[in-house]
């Protein structure tokens, strides 16, 4: 099963890997005298098709020293990992999405890294703060971020802008609204092109409050989803529905092509602007491509929020019942290290979670990565944020989605909707606080 991924060092786009990893710069020297050889298991989420880059990292680590051999297994989604961990037969180290760290960490399935971090080679100060913060549950780190996804970009169809005579992308949210109006076309009362849909491709319950400088929980454990900034972020989205019409948007939306295909609505221009992640349109957003990018607009009265956006890191953690936690930690330090993250980012067009890595010449000087350069720069923004991790995070996010949906459809005011979220989830937060 794994053989297919082995040896293919992610040559999907011809980005060949320079043969280095010289033992001289070996990052995984054992802290004490050499012990006997150990084999550890590492699980990740990628399927064979996309596992090249991560497999290459594992092989590089195995080559870099001769004590620890890492066996890698892909296609391990959250449910599979959860089952193995709860069944008492977990991998030694695993990669998952950040929002699992809260529930799993607080449930006692994940080893806190506090002691390891004290004596390890990892400098937590060198991580992108917003990415590292997602690994924290009750003040302790339960995982480390291995690259991250980021939504802080406005992507737009250049031709649609040209046709409408728009010369520069909107900088404030007020401009975004006006620009969206200009870019919306109707025929016989039906929308044929739309400027912007705030909940496309999904209701984003994290991104929007961040753009407005909102938050979700304060220092005293009180939930803040119903504070002014968060409510304003929903009221703003609602404006688009009031302007273009709920049914009109729904009808138009149902006929939009599928994302990521040649019929993608942003490519065809049916949708003129959207919230962009670093993995959207990597080829099409090159300087001569059809898709333009700009920093996502900020509220006009809050220029301090320029560069805001949400981060969604990939988390590497050690299950509590891992048989070889020390060796797993050795491998983890290597994996989240500078060189490993740079190499991985080159091959998979992702954003490394280490600040110094963002300026690495291998990324910045690489012509093949021209579509990523802006993103490396924006990943340094001080105003990047994320959702606080906790044991009740998935209930919280679910409640936010449900109530935001009601507010967008006009079935409740934004304030009512967010008040309801707090009423529903505060008991869970209090319970979690009483237990930790």
């Amino acid at each position: 099963m794994l053989a297919s991924a082995v040896g293919l060092a992610g040559c999907s786009d011809g980005a060949s890997k320079p043969p280095e990893e010289s033992p001289a710069r070996n990052e995984a020297t054992p802290t004490s005298a050499p012990k006997e050889k150990v084999e550890i298991t590492f699980w990740h989420v990628w399927s064979d098709k996309d596992a090249g880059p991560i497999t290459a990292r594992v092989e590089a680590f195995n080559k870099s020293q001769d004590r620890i051999t890492v066996k890698v297994l892909g296609n391990q989604d959250a449910t599979k990992q959860l089952t193995a961990i709860s069944g008492g037969n977990p991998p030694d180290i695993a990669l998952t999405y950040w929002n699992n760290i809260g529930p799993w960490g607080q449930a006692g399935a994940v080893l806190p890294l506090t002691d390891y971090l004290k004596n390890g080679k990892v400098d937590t100060a060198s991580f992108v703060p917003a990415a590292l913060e997602r690994m924290k549950v009750n003040g302790e780190y339960y995982a480390l971020p291995f690259t991250f996804s980021m939504a802080s970009t406005l992507m737009y169809n250049k031709k649609a802008f040209q046709d409408a005579g728009i010369t520069k992308p909107p900088e404030t949210l007020e401009e975004l609204f006006e620009t969206a109006k200009k870019l919306t076309k109707r025929e016989n009362g039906e929308i044929t092109q739309i400027g912007f849909i705030p909940d496309y491709p999904w209701i984003d319950n994290v991104f929007w409050p961040i753009i407005f400088g909102g938050s979700w929980v304060d220092a005293n454990g009180k939930l803040t989803a119903n504070q002014e900034a968060n409510v304003a972020s929903i009221a703003y989205q609602r404006k688009f529905y009031e302007e273009f019409g709920m049914d009109q948007i729904a009808k138009f939306r149902s006929g939009m092509g599928q994302r990521g295909t040649p019929n993608d609505p942003l490519l065809t221009g049916k949708l003129a602007m959207m919230i962009g992640w670093e993995y959207n349109f990597p080829e099409e957003r090159k300087p001569d491509g059809p898709i333009g990018i700009a920093p996502f607009p900020h509220p006009a009265n809050r220029p301090d929020l320029k560069g805001s956006g949400m981060v969604s890191p990939r988390a590497v953690f050690i299950p509590k019942k891992a048989k070889h936690p020390d060796e797993a930690w050795e491998f983890m330090q290597y994996l989240v290290g500078h060189e490993s993250q740079v190499e991985f980012s080159v091959e998979s067009k992702t954003i490394p979670s280490l600040l110094p890595a963002l300026d690495d010449p291998k990324l910045r000087g690489n012509e093949k990565l021209v579509m990523m350069h802006d993103f490396y720069e924006r990943a340094k923004s001080k105003t990047l944020q994320g959702f606080p991790n906790s044991v009740y995070i998935n209930e919280y996010l679910q409640a936010l989605t449900e109530e935001t949906e009601k507010a967008l459809k006009g079935q409740a005011t934004p304030q009512e909707a967010m008040d309801r979220v707090v009423a529903r989830i505060q008991p869970l937060a209090d319970k979690a606080a009483s237990k930790s």
């Binding site: 961990i85 799993w104 449930a107 729904a250 149902s254 989605t401």
Partner: protein, 309 residues
């Protein structure tokens, strides 16, 4: 006296021996049942009375989970969605399957071909057929609305409008009734021809032959399909999950696709609330058991077995 006692004892010994031999032979199944079915069932009942997150030891909370459940609006919503898909899905699907079976039971040339063609969709896995139907149900370009528009009917926004998401699933369900049809077909072919001949001599028309001979004769099969269908319908999961992904969510637009089993799964594996999920599972068990009992109780009045007067 003594001799008979000894003989009985010997007989008992032999019978015991036979019993143990028998048990030994079925021991693989027995071990499997005890270990992988009975034990988990009992454990889930214990978990339903505790707070359990899969990793820490369960904390005893008594009936708290059940109390919370009866105050949980999403519990009622998911139950409503599930009952909806059972009432508006199961019964029409069975009626449709019977209709198809009647057609496929006629003596027409090439009937075997029709039977094959009709059964084929049933072989498609639920995930694949759901994805396929999402194409067909696309509000703007889908074939379904194309047809509805052609005959001047309303063209719903199937996957987006909460009022239409469940009817969309019901519609898709008609496509997968091959199994029920084949079973009805078997039942139909079991009805003695003599009855029809006798009825025809008495001057019974088509409808009354169907009403008074066919329906009673296949009623055991109806009972079977109804009970099995009910159990399956209350565990409705895959199709709902796939359709909800169209709106990038777990429960679909306004949770209109939050079926009981989906909510249970979410509670267990996303919220790590195994105790609560276990209590949901037990409530589901009680509901299905109760309904099955009800059907069996009523069956005396409408199910006819061969040989009965």
């Amino acid at each position: 006296m003594t001799r008979t006692a000894a003989a009985t004892a010997g007989f008992r010994r032999r019978r015991n021996k036979a019993l143990w031999t028998g048990l030994l032979f079925i021991s693989p199944w027995l071990a499997g049942f005890l270990l992988f079915q009975l034990y988990p069932i009992l454990m889930s009942f214990y978990y339903s009375l505790s707070e359990y997150n899969l990793f820490s030891d369960p904390e005893w909370v008594g009936l708290q989970n059940y109390k919370d459940l009866f105050g949980d609006s999403k519990f009622y919503l998911s139950l409503y969605n599930t009952v909806y898909i059972t009432v508006f899905g199961l019964l029409p699907h069975l009626a449709f399957a019977l209709g198809m079976a009647l057609l496929l039971n006629m003596s027409v040339r090439g009937q075997a071909v029709y039977r094959t063609i009709y059964f084929l969709p049933t072989l498609v896995p639920a995930v694949a057929s759901s994805l396929l139907w999402m194409w067909l149900l696309n509000a703007q370009y889908g074939l379904v609305n194309e047809l509805l528009g052609a005959i001047g009917l309303v063209e719903p926004n199937w996957l987006v409008d909460p009022a239409w998401t469940k009817p969309a699933l019901v519609l898709m369900g008609f496509w997968g009734t091959g199994t029920q049809t084949v079973m009805y077909l078997a039942a139909l072919q079991d009805v003695p021809k003599v009855f029809y001949e006798a009825a025809e001599i008495d001057g019974a028309g088509r409808w009354s032959r169907f009403r008074h001979i066919t329906l009673p004769a296949i009623s055991p099969m109806t009972l079977f399909l109804l009970v099995i269908g009910l159990i399956n319908s209350f565990q409705y999961f895959t199709q709902g999950l796939i359709f909800a992904e169209a709106s990038q969510s777990v429960g679909g637009p306004e949770n209109s696709l939050l079926f009981y089993a989906i909510y249970l799964y979410q509670t267990a594996f996303s919220f790590l609330n195994m105790g609560y999920a276990s209590s949901m599972a037990w409530i589901l068990c009680v509901i299905v058991f109760g309904l099955t009992l009800l059907i069996f109780r009523s069956s005396a009045r409408w199910v006819y077995y061969g040989g009965e007067k």
